[in-house]
Amino acid sequence: MNPSGLPPLASLPGPQIRAVHDELHGDLLELSMGPHHPSTHGVFRMVVTLDGETVVKLKPVFGYLHRNHEKIAEGASYLGSMPYTDRLDYLCSMTNNWSYALAVERLAGQAVSERAEYVRVILAELTRLLNHTCLAGFLLQDGGASGTPLMYAFREREKILDLFESLSGSRMMCNYQRFGGCRADPSPAWLDSARALVDGYGRFLDEYEALLTGNEILMARTQGIGRLSPQLAVSAGVTGPMLRAAGVGYDIRKVDGYGFYPRFTFRVPIGADGDTYDRYMVRILEMRESIGILRQALRDIPAGPILDPKAKQRGLRPKAGEVYSRIEGPKGEIGFFLISDGGPNPYRYRVRPPSLINLTILEDMCLGQSIADSVVILGSVDIVLGEVDR
């Protein structure tokens, strides 16, 4: 009855480590880490039960940032939800925009111009660079490095944000994609500065890796820590670099081939052990692939309109129906499920938040590890609370 090798029903959450607590071993210590804690990446709480320093139980608690994004969007027009998607995963507004625009385009049957597709790929890959760079910095911060990797990451991130700002007018809340294209046309000068950035990024990654990848302390802290089996990863809906680090080569850019990704050659790095080090390294390698995609896209980008002037933005009333559409965001599968009843605002609007779903197996990964590792494991999951809580 279980040919796919997936975990049977017995592998449900629950403490898998039996904690010994008698007179010799003493009591268990329950520690509420968060919501105000330096390493929970925002207002996130982990109720951790410790046996010494070993985690025997861990329950994530969130919702502190909950604003019912979905309810707000159901009361807003289709266009009016676009700026709210910026605020889900506020590191990756461009990919959130794209995913939402793609969902509405599929719902309303709107075609996208060729130049806009290229610009979307460029921006999505820049977002991936930005997100993964920051993640490596945050991960090392969680591992106790005094901010140096993080500051180097932010130094490079700033360059990407400058590009976003000069194109969309805002550094993080870009609100850039529109149904049927993009809002502003990148100038030749913008494309040139993007090329310059992409050309310099490989050098930065080399320096970054010299600082981190060969570091014995980093290896000792991450290798063999927080292992995730491919079966559990797939069953738990883990997506993105985390899934690939667990050894499953599933990349929506390849599987769905949305946008113009089939036109570009790139490889999908996969890990073997599914531990924290693999999650870190897969992201580093993905950045190198992203640089390749960016080179191709910036070389091939055609001239033409960026947005179909007839494409309806305001007062869009898609035909009644529903759509689920997803893209490969930097954190995983970011999808939008929309139901239209023919009205000016969606009847049902749902975000599939990769950060939240990747957290499902946090306890499984942390059990039996030390409390210091649980922080690093959380860092390697790569969550943004704006998206977890919505």
Binding site: G80, D86, R183, A210, L211, N215, L307
Partner: protein, 213 residues
């Protein structure tokens, strides 16, 4: 292994330490109040209302209180009350004007949707970001007097966009004048059965602007 990775890391930080003394790329901080980075032209912060003349901002607002932006604003930070009377606009046409036009910048999320939906090019994004105030409520709730800024200011912060807007408005005005002339000529002509000229945009409602490039 055996600490070589650690030494490699130490070499990287040492390079950055030394580099920070002579290499601008390794010393990226801008000392903000004294030094300022140039804002990109596309930079946007909060909306403002465009008026034609700096001397009479209230009299020359482009806004005709159509309330589209109020309806479209996702966080609903715009509040408009229409005027009871009409004032002549830049073309001399009598128009409704906003008796109240408030934007609560504490609520505004700088999304620029009001700009995109405005068919009259009357609301644009400002670049002033130093808005810190001690009064949490009053100072962040901007009325139409605080919001009105002349077209020349718009030209200075977004030259490309303003150039396009101005040429579009000029074309619309010329077309309107042309239409008026044709209409006058048609009225003057003895035969009223003359075919109507091809639909020209009327002065009251220029064509909705294409999304901003």
């Amino acid at each position: 292994m055996l600490g070589t990775g650690l030494l490699q890391g130490l070499a990287v930080t040492a390079r950055n330490f030394l580099g920070s003394f002579y290499d601008r790329r390794r010393f990226v901080t801008t000392q903000y109040p004294e030094q300022r980075t140039a804002l990109p032209e596309a930079y946007r912060n909060f909306p403002f209302l465009v008026c034609e003349s700096a001397d009479d901002p209230m009299g020359t607002l482009r806004c005709v209180a159509c309330q589209i932006c109020e309806k479209e604003c996702p966080p609903q930070c715009i509040y408009i009350e229409k005027s009871k009377d009409k004032k002549p606009d830049a073309n001399g046409k009598p128009q409704i004007y906003p008796a109240v036009f408030d934007i609560d910048t504490a609520v505004c999320m700088s999304c620029q949707i009001c700009v995109e939906v405005c068919p009259f090019d009357a609301i644009k994004m400002d670049q002033v970001f130093e808005l810190a105030a001690t009064d949490r409520f009053g100072a962040l709730l901007m009325d139409r007097h605080a919001l009105a800024k002349p077209n020349s200011y718009f030209q200075s912060i977004h030259p490309t966009e303003a150039g396009e807007v101005d040429s579009r408005l000029l074309a619309a005005r010329l077309a309107a004048e042309e239409k008026a002339r044709t209409a006058a000529a048609a009225k003057a002509a003895p035969k009223p059965a003359a075919p109507k000229p091809p639909a020209a945009p009327s002065a009251e409602a220029p064509k909705p602007s294409p999304p901003l490039a």
